[in-house]
């Protein structure tokens, strides 16, 4: 039974650190996306913001998991960011394409 306790603790620790390091990697990608969106022209900025909504949404979704930090309201924000971010990017790209 001691082995099972150890494995269970290892699984919890591995999941926590895995999610945490992935969130840190997402933050690094988010910084790169912000840099891209601040430096480039209109479409490049749109691409940077689209990428930023992705990494922010995924990080927020991971924060909302009960196995990690259990921040419930982050889940709704994450869903809104991921879904509306992608849809908004497509719509704005259509605007930029037509040049209106």
């Amino acid at each position: 039974m001691t082995d099972l306790t150890f494995l269970s603790q290892f699984a919890d620790a591995a999941f926590f650190w895995g999610s945490f390091i992935f969130m840190v990697a997402c933050s690094v990608a988010g910084l790169a996306c912000i840099r891209l969106s601040l430096k480039g022209e209109a479409v490049t900025s749109l691409m940077g913001i689209s990428c930023f909504t992705t990494v922010a949404g995924v990080s927020l979704y991971l924060i909302s998991l009960p196995e990690l930090f259990n921040v419930g309201f982050a889940r709704d924000t994450a869903i809104a960011l991921l879904v509306i971010g992608a849809l908004g990017t497509i719509i704005f790209a259509r605007f930029f394409r037509s040049g209106d």
């Binding site: 999610s19 790169a32 891209l36 430096k39 992608a86 990017t89 790209a93 040049g99």
Partner: protein, 160 residues
């Protein structure tokens, strides 16, 4: 403390394997074989835990949680590599660098959505899987719309 040490070894093994794949430019082990091998390891581990006196659901959840952690660790290297690429490819490479950047942001999107899908499956969170899958379906449309917008914008600027 000893668990964290094992986590460090586990993370180093997985990240090293992913980095080896990226360095090689193709899969070191074919994914169709790798999935079967991983599934076999999962079955053997669950059977071993059941022999040690654990219930089926408890054993499966422990092993699947370790697998979910592995998926997260595997997502770190492509994410960091993509952010280095986004930082590195500046305007000095000409106007067509947009398409390279578009590809890099596609890598970020794909990594994020695949981590959501597989980690969600492994920790029994179907909402995470659903949002990840929904987002995964949007990725090609987003990339295509951005590339299309840039192309027509660039053509208009050339005409002026």
């Amino acid at each position: 403390m000893i668990q964290e040490l094992f986590v460090l070894i586990y993370a180093a093994l997985i990240m090293g394997y992913v980095a080896w794949n990226i360095r090689k430019g193709s899969f070191v082990i074919d994914p169709s074989k790798l999935v079967l091998v991983l599934f076999g390891i999962f079955l053997v581990s669950v059977a071993g835990l059941m022999l040690l006196g654990s219930g089926l659901s408890e054993a499966a959840s422990i092993i699947m949680k370790i697998g979910a952690a592995g998926v997260m660790f595997a997502g770190v290297i492509p994410m960091v590599a993509a952010s280095v690429g986004l930082m590195r490819f500046g305007e000095e490479y000409g106007p067509n660098i947009f398409y390279a950047r578009n590809h890099i942001t596609g890598v970020v999107d794909t990594t994020a959505s695949l981590v959501m899908i597989f980690a969600g499956i492994l920790i029994y969170r179907l909402d995470l899987v659903a949002v990840g899958f929904f987002f995964f379906m949007f990725i090609p449309f987003v990339g295509n719309a951005l590339a299309n917008a840039y192309y027509y914008n660039f053509q208009r600027r050339l005409e002026k």
